[in-house]
Symmetry: C2
Subunit: 195 residues, 2 copies
Amino acid sequence: MSPPDDIMDATWCALCRRGYADLTMQAIADETDKSKAALHYHYDSKQELLESFLDHAADRFLERLHKAAAEAETPAAQLSAVVDAAFSPPVGDDRESVSAALLELRAQAPHQPAFRERLCEADDAFCDLLAAVLAAGVESGAFRADLDPQRAARTIVTFFDGSRLRQVSLDEDPEMARTLLESYLDSAVYAEGQR
Amino acid sequence: MSPPDDIMDATWCALCRRGYADLTMQAIADETDKSKAALHYHYDSKQELLESFLDHAADRFLERLHKAAAEAETPAAQLSAVVDAAFSPPVGDDRESVSAALLELRAQAPHQPAFRERLCEADDAFCDLLAAVLAAGVESGAFRADLDPQRAARTIVTFFDGSRLRQVSLDEDPEMARTLLESYLDSAVYAEGQR
């Protein structure tokens, strides 16, 4: 059964407003027109709800990236669109609160194997999408012939994760990492004269 | 007054053992031969103790990096030694627990301006050290003449932070990011034939 969207939206709001440490089932219920008992009808525990929420957040993120890739025509345009989408907050969300709440969840992974499993699945899917775009660009000649798509994809996600951590912990503008990533793409990914 | 070393060591142990969420003054006292009351003689609150701890952890990290740089003779050897030191856990510490505990503290930065201030200071010092080594290498001809030391330093710390987050949240081996960083250094930092 797919999770009720209104509960997922409410979890998103409650996490942004209160952070992970202060999150309660009551706080989530307060963001919906449901009672706390109604929440427990769907989820036995906060833990179970948050596992479902992580799947939901990953699906939302990956859908945006796949949509961005599908709307672009060439591998170079796809790479640019996917990077744009990854660095942009979902419309209507407050990027700082979202990033902070997700980082708190990620920091719990060593204590929560079910969280880690979901985070790994989402990361694999992000890497796979990037690697497919990069491989298509090598094929078409837009990207360097000696590019290793898997390694380049991992480099991009490492940049992206560094940016997330720096945004939350240091209040660094994500545009900083974005600009550094563009330099990496220029020097290591795009074929000469293809940009 | 510099913080008593035994309390800082005890905080380190207690954080690794219990994580941030379950950390109490009593848990820290339990790792020393001091009472909780004795801890409160030095620190009014857990908050104040943790601020002091972040300074201490940053000092320890930066000392290791400066020592590594001082022991190497050429800018290329210095860069390699500093990257090595940054990616290596302090001797005797369990790298996974240390990284997890520090990530939990970093994730608190949006709610703790005093934490963020210390994290920013430490990050600036890390960037400055890298930028100085990079500038020396441009000067000596070991690194590319068109290298921007500040931008390259920021790229390296972004990689490093990405690696930290991926280690804790995905259980990724830090050697992965380390290898990707080496590729970046080969293509963007070292001058042709200088490696």
